[in-house]
């Protein structure tokens, strides 16, 4: 589900600028500073970063545009590695037997097993390939509006944190209360806050 998909899922945000007006140069600097690394850390389970919309697997913001007539469009990529539990279990069983044979013992201690497990996990993690997930994000600087093209909770949390880190702007989710409050005076917001649910038939 992306920005050009025939079927879209969209959540909306208002973008609050904390420090200064947003200009394309500032956006580019934030994107480059927090782009997906070209050579990822092999020992990390999750790697996150910005990637160009037109080239999500080659994170080069110099060669690929992100600005389209006043709207910034780029993507959040989350690469995840998972060591299959059954594979780890299999390798652990083999390693335990090997260690017992080498040391001539019938049992291994809990600490020894934990140490073997950790070494095996790191080794398998290094060999495992990342599974990338790409989520598009569009940002109208003039109107201070943004769309995120997914409703996955984990991706939303990653987005909100990385966005603030990259651009020092806060994303305020468009939900019933914020959608109403954003256009109100303080007095009207007090009246809004005082509302309670109504029952049909009251």
């Amino acid at each position: 589900m992306g920005a050009l998909s025939p079927s879209q899922t969209i959540i909306r945000y208002q973008v609050e600028n904390i420090n200064e007006a947003v200009v394309p140069a500032m956006v580019l600097a934030g994107l480059k500073a927090n782009a997906m690394p070209v050579i990822p850390d092999e020992y990390k389970e999750t790697i996150i970063g910005w990637v160009p919309f037109e080239s999500p697997y080659i994170p080069d913001f110099v060669a690929n545009p992100f600005l389209y007539n006043g709207v910034s469009l780029f993507s959040l990529r989350i690469d995840k590695k998972t060591v299959p539990p059954k594979v780890l279990q299999q390798q652990m069983a083999i390693s335990f037997e090997k260690r017992k044979t080498e040391t001539g013992r019938e049992f291994l201690s809990k600490n020894e097993k934990a140490e073997i497990r950790e070494l095996l996990y790191d080794s398998l993690l290094q060999k495992t390939s990342c599974i990338p997930s790409v989520f598009d994000f569009a940002w109208d600087h003039d109107l201070g509006l943004a769309y995120f093209y997914t409703a996955q909770k984990a991706a939303i949390e990653v987005l909100e944190n990385l966005f603030y880190k990259s651009f020092e702007c806060r994303l305020v989710r468009t939900i019933p209360y914020t959608q109403a409050a954003c256009r109100m005076t303080e007095a009207d917001e007090d009246r809004l806050a005082a509302l309670t649910p109504i029952k049909i038939g009251d």
Partner: protein
């Protein structure tokens, strides 16, 4: 905004649910009241599409019931609303001039799902056409959200004026009660 986002979400979800109920009622009974383009020369039609999701709050986890339009025109939905259920999600069809959009709108967080422009499909753009495709998609999305924002602003106006409680609640209640078969 005075509230933190978590409190705003948890405590005021009911605004979204009531908005969906009002939208359903207004689209059937008072379409002129929700005419987005009443003052300009454009046509708009807002109808409920093919499904409504009702959430019934009770002890433990809320129960969700999805009602399709084939089920006697949503009559079953009225039964659940009468029992205190809320409309958690609704499928909507917006016709704006020659454009037709279909999507699901969730009441608690206003997320839009399965948004499609059903009035014509575009082939996937080539690399030269990407910018044009992006701007066109942005325009289409803006049409839908502009309309939704107008409708919600209108709903909040009614809600704050207590007009909903005084006038519409009884009308909606009659509509709900009138649809319950003996």
């Amino acid at each position: 905004m005075k509230l933190d986002i978590v409190t705003a979400y948890n405590k005021y979800q009911f605004l979204g649910y009531e908005f969906l109920l009002w939208l359903w009622y207004a689209s059937e009974k008072e379409p002129k009241a929700i005419n987005y383009f009443a003052d300009v020369d454009r046509s708009v039609e807002i109808t409920v599409g093919n499904s409504i999701t009702i959430e019934i709050q009770g002890t433990g986890y809320p129960e969700k019931v999805i009602i399709k339009r084939e089920d006697a025109g949503f009559e079953e939905a009225f039964l659940f609303i009468k029992k205190g259920g809320v409309i958690a999600q609704i499928n909507l069809v917006f016709k704006i001039d020659d454009l037709e959009f279909c999507f699901d709108l969730k009441g608690d967080d206003f997320s839009v799902r399965n948004l499609r422009c059903t009035s014509g499909t575009m082939p996937p753009p080539t690399s030269d056409e990407i910018e044009g495709a992006i701007l066109e998609k942005w325009f289409l999305n803006s049409e839908v959200f502009g309309c939704l924002d107008f409708l919600y602003d209108h709903f909040i106006e009614i809600r704050l004026a207590d007009e909903l409680r005084k006038n519409l609640v009884s009308k909606i209640g009659q509509r709900v009660s009138g649809s319950i078969k003996d």
